[in-house]
């Protein structure tokens, strides 16, 4: 698997484990299930914890865990399965501010959509990475810096820039 952050191929420090336990000191990633509770997470692990969510998950169900985890990984089972984009929006709306990662069947051409929906990182298979090289991800990272929608890019939308320009010219 290959991790991508800010258009670069980087090492993945997170280790996926079956079970979260006391011995964790490294960042560990485990599959979410409903028996995982915040106080249990806080008392069980001394290292950072990440949770893997299916794209059919309900964001509200794990809202109580947001303060106890450092990473949420949303799975993308197929290129055309877009549920993860709306799940990301729901997670961000509920106030989660830490790392949000998309993992699975994702190609570089979708990167700008992911960034705009609030994802920080992407994890892809080596087979996809062979064809979607680091250069492609680098280029894709810069795609459509201006969008019509106000989203999570950190940049003002086209509407905001347009009306700022109009207001400026009116002021002059």
């Amino acid at each position: 698997m290959q991790l991508i952050i800010d258009g670069r191929f980087v090492n993945n420090e997170w280790v996926e484990v079956e079970q979260i336990d006391f011995k964790n000191t490294r960042p560990v990633l485990a599959r979410f299930h409903e028996s995982i509770k915040a106080d249990w997470l806080d008392s069980t692990s001394s290292g950072p914890i990440g949770l893997i969510m299916e794209n059919t998950s309900n964001a509200a169900v794990f809202q109580s865990l947001f303060d106890s985890i450092q990473l949420i990984v949303i799975e993308f089972p197929a290129i055309m399965d877009g549920r993860g984009y709306s799940l990301a929006e729901n997670i961000r709306r509920l106030g989660y501010q830490r790392e949000l990662r998309a993992r699975g069947e994702i190609i570089s051409d979708q990167y700008h959509h992911l960034i705009a929906c609030g994802f920080d990182s992407v994890e892809i298979t080596d087979q996809i990475a062979d064809r979607h090289t680091e250069l492609e991800w680098r280029k894709a990272w810069k795609r459509f810096p201006l969008r019509y929608q106000t989203r999570h890019t950190g940049l003002p939308s086209i509407l905001a820039q347009r009306h700022a320009t109009i207001n400026l010219s009116n002021a002059n």
Partner: protein, 547 residues
């Protein structure tokens, strides 16, 4: 009409350059066909039976003469000298090679056109009333809101991978000429008692293999809540629409399975969690866009009686010319349906002539209607005769708007991989059979709509006479429906009987028309007659072809 600013221009140019790289990566193998297919579809490019087909967006059906000149050039340079007007107010080119499509798109960008989201599982081109801004029964001009929706939906990051395609139509008139009950979302703009703009929202309508008349989701959403409300509809659909079966993936199936009340509850729960401040510029943006849709400078307000007594001209005025809100002006439909012509096909030469005529007679602006015709929205009453003569000279002065030979047809088996049967040859033969203008005039308003398969691209469900292509073994057959209607009294056609051959379709329609002319009451249209007596009354028309 709307003009791009530097932001719109840069955005479309960036999409062209992104697509150019995507094509190059497909050709060198970096993109597999499975990966490339959704990317090209979201840029309007289909792989069809013989070649690539590009569907170019004509936003809400509005086109300038300079854009039409460019489409003519594109037809000559990249295609076989013609284009095809679609039922969603777009234009298609059917004979393209993949490697040249980026250059074609770059040329379109020069005249502020693109093919973004004319296909794929995303929000498609917004369609509207072809008489917008001209019709006398209009409460609100829908085009500024349609443009705002075009921008909002363009590369919307959250809704680029929906369960299935998503079509939105908007009208602002009393008469529904945008088929809002047969779209995923239909919007009817209206004014509240205090004069504030708002929208009735219809959801879950559609045709295809499961035709459904849309239901009212909300009778009035104020303008400043429109975008967040639509986002909530899209989000509920994106998360919960079916993805296991493409035939059950449209929003209409979700609305049916949840029930409209539960669907509304989910939408409104989401809406109440939305941060509306992200849409706060919508009102100033609407004001900015509205300035582009100010009425043209009308030249005169008086009108005198038409001086010509030419019967063909008067027939054309009766059928193809409608009232305009501005005294002294009319809106004119140019039916692209002359006998022998595949419905909606238009040559580059015709495009250039029409563009020239639009400059001379219609403020340089024209519309594409969902009936696959063209509309000149602002024609001086005193110019009607000159315009009709100019159109007649290129065989486009037919007086058949809304009549039996004004047929809607999908591309059918001649072009489409999905079709069971050919549509265009049947449409052509029907056009010839009922081409006599006096006969057509006597029959009166009647829409024939032909789809080559259950996907219903030819809208057969809402044809007064609907024709559906079916296959039996390797043979092409057709099934007829009667009584469909897309406007203010939406109805789905009812099946007449068994599937029949192309020859039998012509004979059956002959019989249907003869029977209608026999039993109709004064001023009663075909579809009103069917509604009055029932489809069963017409079954003998089908049975009689065996005798």
């Amino acid at each position: 009409m709307y003009r791009y600013d530097e932001f719109d221009r840069n955005f479309v140019e960036e999409r062209v350059s992104q697509f150019r790289e995507q094509v190059a990566r497909r050709l060198n193998g970096a993109l597999t066909e499975d990966e490339f297919a959704p990317l090209r579809l979201q840029n309007g490019l289909y792989s069809q039976r013989h070649a690539y087909m590009l569907r170019v967006a004509i936003p809400y059906g509005t086109l300038s003469s300079s854009q039409l000149f460019k489409l003519a050039d594109v037809a000559d340079k990249y295609d076989r000298g013609y284009g095809h007007l679609t039922t969603r107010q777009n234009i298609q080119f059917n004979w393209l090679s993949l490697d040249r499509v980026p250059d074609l798109l770059a040329e379109l960008a020069q005249v502020e056109m693109h093919a973004i989201q004319t296909s794929g599982n995303c929000i498609r081109n917004i369609t509207s009333d072809p008489f917008a801004g001209a019709a006398g029964d209009e409460l609100v001009d829908p085009r500024p809101v349609a443009e705002l929706l075009r921008q909002w939906s363009t590369l919307h990051p959250e809704f680029a991978h929906l369960p299935r395609k998503f079509k939105i139509a908007i009208t602002g008139a009393r008469a529904d000429r945008a088929a809002i009950f047969f779209h995923d979302i239909g919007l009817r703009a209206q004014k509240a008692g205090n004069g504030n703009l708002g929208f009735e929202i219809i959801v879950g309508g559609g045709q295809g293999r499961t035709p459904i008349i849309g239901q009212v989701l909300n009778p009035f959403v104020p303008f400043d809540s429109l975008l967040p409300y639509l986002e909530s509809v899209m989000r509920v659909y994106n998360l919960h629409g079916r993805r296991d079966n493409k035939y059950k993936a449209r929003i209409k199936i979700l609305v049916q399975s949840l029930g409209v009340d539960e669907f509304r509850r989910q939408v409104e729960a989401d809406f109440n969690h939305t941060d509306h401040t992200q849409f706060k510029l919508a009102t100033s943006e609407l004001r900015r866009i509205e300035a582009y849709f100010a009425p043209p400078k009308y030249a005169e307000t008086r009108e005198s009686e038409l001086s010509s007594k030419d019967e063909a001209f008067l027939r054309w005025v009766k059928r193809n010319v409608v009232a305009h809100r501005q005294p002294g002006y009319r809106a004119v439909t140019i039916t692209v349906k002359s006998p022998g012509r595949p419905p909606g096909d238009i040559t580059s030469r015709e495009m250039r002539t029409i563009a020239t005529l639009a400059d001379r007679y219609s403020c340089g602006e024209l519309r594409v209607s969902h009936e696959q015709n063209l509309v000149f929205a602002h024609v001086r009453h005193s110019d009607l005769h000159d315009l009709w003569q100019a159109l007649s000279a290129i065989n486009l002065g037919e007086s058949n708007s809304g009549l039996i030979s004004d047929i809607i047809a999908c591309p059918g088996l001649d072009y489409c991989n999905l079709a069971n049967a050919r549509s265009i040859p049947l449409a052509t033969r029907l056009g010839e059979r009922f081409g006599d203008p006096e006969l057509a005039e006597d029959i009166g308003p009647l829409s024939i709509k032909i789809s080559g398969c259950v996907n219903a691209c030819g809208h057969h469900h809402v044809g007064h006479i609907g024709i559906l292509g079916v296959s039996k073994g390797d043979k092409e057959f057709y099934q007829l429906t009667l009584g469909g209607e897309a406007g203010n009294a939406p109805a789905l056609g009812e099946r007449l009987g068994r599937a029949i051959t192309e020859d039998q379709v012509l004979d059956t329609i002959d019989n249907l028309i003869a029977h209608y002319r026999k039993i109709r009451q004064p001023q009663e249209t075909f579809v009103a007659c069917v509604a009055r007596v029932g489809v069963a009354e017409f079954k003998e028309s089908l049975n009689a072809i065996d005798h």
